[in-house]
């Protein structure tokens, strides 16, 4: 597709993404209004400082005396300027709390996704070339197994095996506390801490991508252009890589986009298990402290992450598939 069409395609997707974000904000607004008690008590009342003066101050801050639509506009303006509220528990703005934790989550989900995508496609390609043989059946069984296993339980089992019994890898946090490592040593330390959480989060998606890649490899391998390439005498390895794989990747990318929410949601559980200091762990701490402002902030942040991830997969799709059309 030409550069102009690509730009139009991406512009259209961006507009759609913007509407989703807008929808999330309106949804949160409705949620806060529907919650038991008034918004002031929902957001701060349970944070332990619910004296009448403070509540009145909050009600004024939220503009609860104004008409509903005006409240919505204020809420929209606040969130779109990244004013996500204030955590009275931690005495800090929600935005700063999230900003501090976001890099850890991006590292974890990014590593897990890369592992799942590369591993899954490799396994799927391998299985598609050995249809019906033990290796193929094994991949199907593994996929079915991971599809039925709670992700947090996989994490705990990995901790049990690799940290408690074998003592190979750390099970807690993002770096060795008190070691004060710098440079390369620090990076290696973080990488060591990253292995188990990234595996936990990635294995489930690896299983799914493997099955998808296998199915679409088989489907594409039957098509005419592959037979033509073979008739022309193109080497088998090149056929698999250039002709089949490129087309077989498309459903995997589409599915990765659809499942972005699951990846981000899974990171909450994984971060809880491994005490990984990301926004998922922040959400868990907010749950324990009944800090709803933080919880809603994390929800908004994960929604934005999903939308951005979807935009990236759209772009990837357009790059991989020359036929993609503007829908």
């Amino acid at each position: 597709m030409g550069a102009g069409a690509l730009a139009a395609f991406l512009a259209q997707r961006t507009v759609k993404a913007a509407f989703v974000i807008l929808g999330v904000v309106v949804f949160q607004f409705v949620l806060i209004r529907l919650a038991p008690g008034d918004p002031a008590s929902v957001i701060a009342g349970q944070s332990g400082a619910a004296d009448p003066l403070f509540m009145a101050q909050l009600r004024e801050q939220f503009g609860l005396d104004r008409p509903l639509w005006e409240q919505l506009l204020i809420y929209l303006r606040d969130i779109l300027t990244l004013d996500l509220g204030f955590s009275h528990r931690q005495q800090r703005t929600v935005a700063s709390l999230i900003g501090e934790r976001l890099p850890a989550t991006l590292l974890l989900t990014g590593a897990a996704f890369a592992f799942a995508l590369i591993g899954g496609v490799a396994l799927g390609v391998a299985a598609s070339r050995r249809v019906g043989r033990p290796a193929d059946s094994a991949i199907t069984v593994i996929a079915l197994t991971f599809y039925a296993t709670p992700i947090f339980w996989v994490g705990l089992l990995l901790v049990l095996v690799f940290s408690v019994w074998l003592e190979w890898l750390p099970s807690f946090g993002m770096f060795t506390v008190g070691a004060d490592l710098t440079g390369l040593a620090h990076a290696l330390d973080v990488a060591k801490h990253l292995i188990l959480p990234a595996l936990t989060l990635g294995l489930f998606f690896l299983a799914i991508y493997a099955r998808l890649a296998r199915a679409s490899m088989l489907e594409v391998a039957d098509q005419d252009f592959v037979r033509t390439a073979r008739a022309k005498g193109v080497p088998e390895g090149r056929i698999v890589r250039v002709h089949v794989l490129r087309n077989a990747l498309l459903p995997v990318i589409t599915f990765a986009g659809i499942q972005a929410g699951q990846l981000v949601g899974g990171s909450i559980l994984v971060e809880t298990v491994f005490a990984w200091p990301g926004i998922g762990r922040l959400a868990f701490e907010a749950l324990l402290a009944r800090d709803y402002a933080v919880l809603l902030g994390v929800f908004f942040c994960t929604a934005v992450m999903v939308v951005v991830f979807n935009l990236v997969t759209d772009l990837l799709y357009a790059v991989v598939d020359p036929r993609v059309e503007v829908a």
């Binding site: 989703v20 705990l156 489907e219 659809i258 699951q262 559980l269 749950l287 919880l295």
Partner: protein, 282 residues
């Protein structure tokens, strides 16, 4: 029916899944007989490994019986899985039927709404919903239903779109039957098989979701559940692996059995499609 059973039986995995499911159902029913005491009751010395001091699967940090907890938790998991799926089906079928039958602008609006719910991270949404409306069995069921209806809407809409122009529907329209009657008695019965397959997978997903919520401490505080047991065993895993491992196996077996049965149903109800399905539904 005989034909359906013959096709279902051909899938060995599905038969095994059905057998496991029957055992799990039996456990749920017999739990009060096998363990005629509350799963919260302290029954002996804490941290007893499996097989010791009369604890089949060990005891937890407060001396509660892990086996009793799993048995009593079975009922909670199945109940939440079943009821929330029923609620999600009610929402999904209604919206899907209206979208597919009405078409046009109504369809557009409903599908945008559905897409929105499919895009936002569903687990995080469920966490937020249960936390804000305080954890209880009803808030958990409602939250799971709210995040699981979109696939139903999509499937039902697609079926309705293809069925609404068929002759038997046109005949019913010519006969002057009401829209509601046509939707309920003509189209819906013909769209049932994909809905049945989808719902067995939805029960599985709902059980996973419930376990994840109660793992995070968002379970009903009055009910013993598998996820809660794993969550409370998490911090003492070095001391008592059995507290987290056995409830996890219970979840795994239940969800696996439901998925296998779902594949068997798919084979039995959509014989033409059965062999082409490579992908798992989202």
């Amino acid at each position: 029916m005989a034909e359906f059973w013959r096709r279902f039986r051909r899938n060995l995995g599905a038969v095994i899944g059905l057998a496991i499911l029957a055992l799990i159902g039996l456990t749920a029913i017999l739990a009060p007989v096998l363990f005629p005491f509350s799963p919260w009751e302290m029954r002996g010395i804490p941290f007893m490994p499996p097989g010791e001091a009369g604890f089949l699967l060990g005891s937890d940090s407060l001396g509660r019986d892990v086996a009793a907890g799993i048995a009593h938790g079975t009922y909670v998991s199945l109940l939440v899985g079943g009821v929330s799926t029923a609620a999600a089906l009610a929402i999904g079928i209604t919206l899907g039927a209206v979208a597919g039958y009405a078409a046009g602008r109504v369809d557009d609006a409903i599908m945008r709404f559905t897409e929105f719910f499919q895009t936002i991270p569903s687990f995080v949404l469920a966490v937020v919903l249960v936390a804000i409306f305080t954890p209880s069995i009803s808030s958990i069921v409602i939250a799971i239903a709210i995040v699981s209806w979109p696939p139903v809407t999509r499937v039902v809409r697609a079926e309705f779109l293809s069925l609404r122009s068929r002759e038997f529907v046109q005949a019913a329209e010519v006969l002057g039957r009401s829209r509601i009657a046509i939707i309920l008695t003509e189209i819906l019965p013909n769209a049932l098989s994909p809905i049945i397959v989808l719902s067995s997978l939805m029960v599985a997903t709902a059980i996973l979701l419930e376990s994840a919520l109660s793992f995070l401490g968002l379970g009903d505080p009055n009910l013993m559940s598998w996820g809660f047991m794993i969550g409370s065993g998490r911090s003492v895993i070095r001391l008592a692996w059995w507290m987290s491992v056995f409830p996890g196996i219970a979840i795994f077996l239940t969800v696996l059995a439901l998925n296998l049965v779902g594949e068997g149903l798919n084979d039995a109800l959509n014989p033409r499609l059965a062999r082409r399905r490579g992908a798992l539904p989202a």
